[in-house]
């Protein structure tokens, strides 16, 4: 109680100084940068003063922490940009920059009022408590009614002491309330605002989405491996045992046909498993990457498919997987619905994206909202990518996916 009251007192009193400094500084920079802004030095001056302003605001965040319990978190976004111009605009577009300035201006009247009120309340109350020690020295015959008996008579002075002691908790309450009110006002202006919170939230969402997508891609590869090394291997092993058993059966054994049937059933199970694995994550994609997998797709397609791009380029697994299925679906559609004969698949990389483009010579008229294409779109959008289809009647159909990597 005493501690928090003392903190509030310290905060309120030091606000007078801080407010004065803040006012001087804000007047100086408004005038200084305002004048310099018409010259070339405007940008660097703005950045320099913004830096100082931020340090002052940081001091204020710490000072408010005396009352609030912990310092107010800083709301600044990283300043990016190579040129002064870019950095100036990065600083100027942050609401935090202007909120800092607003607090430095507001702090002066608030700090002055709060600080003086705190000093007066404390001095008057403490003076009342120790009244017997000094009130005799300042006789004031012209004092108005309640003060006259309180100051001039001995019982009055002790009465003043009792009154002062009774008022101590009230004074302490006033100090804490005033300190808290001012610190909370500081928090409104100096804490991260909606802008910063939204930016943080977006960054967080982008990261979690990336993690989910990566985890999913890793999971698909794991499932593929588990199917191959687990289920499939066990079935093959069972088939081998069965084959050895069949060898030991006499040629005319009635069980021979059953063993043979069992073997064929195992084969069917394996064929089905392989088909499943290809649909989940084609092994060649893991083995050799996107270009080799697309070349294999091209080889298996009834169309004459030309693949363009750097064969040695590798991309993140999730991107390769999505791109692969876009191309697989695109080639299947071109052959099945568009009646195309040739198709050109281009894989291109820029600094931030991988672009997959399929151009066929078919009759066009593809329905972008069809279930196959819609599924692809969702898959591409999960990676923050974009799928576009142009397919005028008469063709050609151009299917393009842009995937950030």
């Amino acid at each position: 109680m005493i501690r928090t009251t003392a903190s509030a007192m310290a905060y309120l009193v030091s606000s007078i100084v801080a407010g004065f400094v803040g006012l001087l500084w804000s007047l100086a920079i408004i005038l200084g940068v305002g004048l310099l802004s018409i010259t070339l030095a405007g940008g660097p001056a703005f950045l320099g003063t913004a830096w100082v302003t931020r340090r002052l605001a940081d001091l204020e965040r710490h000072r408010a922490g005396w009352v609030l319990g912990s310092a107010i978190p800083a709301p600044y976004l990283p300043i990016e940009g190579a040129t002064v111009q870019q950095r100036v605009s990065a600083v100027a577009t942050q609401p935090a920059t202007w909120r800092d300035l607003a607090w430095l201006v507001v702090l002066f009247p608030l700090g002055l009022a709060g600080g003086i009120a705190a000093i007066v309340a404390t001095v008057v109350d403490l003076a009342a408590v120790v009244a017997p020690a000094w009130a005799w020295a300042v006789p004031n015959p012209r004092a108005p009614f309640p003060m006259d008996p309180l100051m001039t008579t001995m019982p009055g002075r002790f009465g003043l002491t009792i009154l002062g002691v009774l008022l101590l908790p009230v004074t302490a309450w006033f100090l804490r309330t005033a300190g808290l009110a001012q610190a909370r006002t500081a928090r409104v202006l100096l804490a991260p605002g909606a802008h910063r919170c939204l930016v943080e939230e977006t960054t967080r969402l982008v990261q979690t989405r990336r993690r989910v997508v990566d985890a999913q891609a890793a999971e698909l590869r794991r499932i593929e491996r588990d199917l191959h090394d687990g289920a499939q291997a066990r079935i093959v092993a069972a088939g081998m045992t069965l084959a050895l058993a069949a060898r030991k059966l006499p040629a005319d054994a009635t069980a021979a046909s059953d063993v043979d049937l069992a073997r064929r059933q195992l084969d069917d199970a394996l064929t089905e498993l392989r088909r499943l694995v290809r649909g989940i994550h084609p092994p060649i994609l893991t083995d050799r990457g996107l270009h080799a997998a697309v070349a294999a797709l091209a080889g298996d397609s009834p169309l004459a498919v030309e693949v363009r791009g750097d064969p040695d380029d590798r991309y993140p697994p999730a991107v390769e997987s999505a791109a692969y299925f876009v191309i697989a679906e695109g080639l299947a559609n071109a052959g099945k619905h568009a009646d195309a004969r040739t198709c050109v698949v281009t894989l291109a990389r820029t600094a931030v994206t991988v672009t997959v483009t399929l151009v066929d010579d078919g009759q066009g008229g593809a329905d972008p909202s069809g279930s196959g294409l819609d599924g692809l779109r969702r898959r591409v959008e999960a990676l923050d990518g974009q799928l576009t289809i142009t397919s005028p009647p008469g063709g050609p159909t151009v299917l393009s996916a842009e995937l950030p990597h």
Partner: protein, 214 residues
């Protein structure tokens, strides 16, 4: 026949060792990684290596790459690749040197014991063995196989079996044809694929390659 096996799954490695020793072959070494395969082949000089495509440490196509390395350093090395899946591209890479003595089978085929042993013999003797699944993948493609386009259905069938690595006699048996007609079909195939007369075994590999590459 002395054989080296490279397979990382204990269950399958043991199964294959049992199968081969039960049928009178000698397994000189059974290893589980690609580097160990290279070492084992250098040490034992086997008649044939049976290699899984996917091996540790990377679990990608280390086995296939190791097989290609073996063939590059010693062209006489005979390699039979077995895998849980088949990729036409891998078959092309194996056959590309046109020398034969290679095979690429699904692991499932191991359970058709006689066919598997047949393939083992064929590859060890410098022939080829291609999985029917690879051949089937080729049949699903219809257009732009220019040379292959001109083949009659019967010739395609014969080419398919040739691609699997079957001998003329085996093709006769499989299609219930007279040896003369099989030879006639094969001559027609070589002519239509524009393969000049040469060593017959070599031409068979080239025919299959032409088929695979289009």
């Amino acid at each position: 026949m002395r054989i080296v096996i490279a397979e990382d799954l204990l269950l399958l490695r043991d199964g294959m060792v049992r199968l081969l020793t039960d049928t009178g072959h000698t397994v000189a070494a059974a290893v589980d990684t690609a580097p160990a395969l290279l070492a084992a082949v250098a040490e034992h000089r086997p008649d044939l290596s049976i290699v899984d495509v996917r091996l540790p440490p990377g679990f990608r196509d280390e086995g296939l790459r190791a097989a290609l390395t073996l063939r590059a350093t010693d062209p006489d090395t005979k390699v039979l690749i077995v895998s849980q899946y088949v990729e036409r591209a891998y078959a092309v890479e194996l056959l590309a040197d046109g020398r034969g003595g290679v095979g690429y089978l699904l692991k499932d085929r191991v359970t058709a014991l006689d066919d598997f042993l047949d393939a083992v013999e064929r590859v060890a003797n410098g022939g080829t063995a291609l999985d029917p699944e690879v051949v089937r993948q080729l049949f699903t493609r219809n257009s732009h196989n220019h040379g292959v386009d001109g083949l009659t259905p019967r010739e395609r069938e014969v080419l398919g079996l040739m691609a699997q690595g079957l001998s003329n006699a085996a093709i006769c048996a499989a299609l219930v044809l007279a040896p003369v007609s099989v030879e006639k079909h094969i001559t027609n195939i070589f002519a239509k694929l524009d393969l000049p007369p040469a060593d017959d075994a070599n031409r068979r590999v080239l025919a299959v390659l032409t088929y695979l590459n289009h």
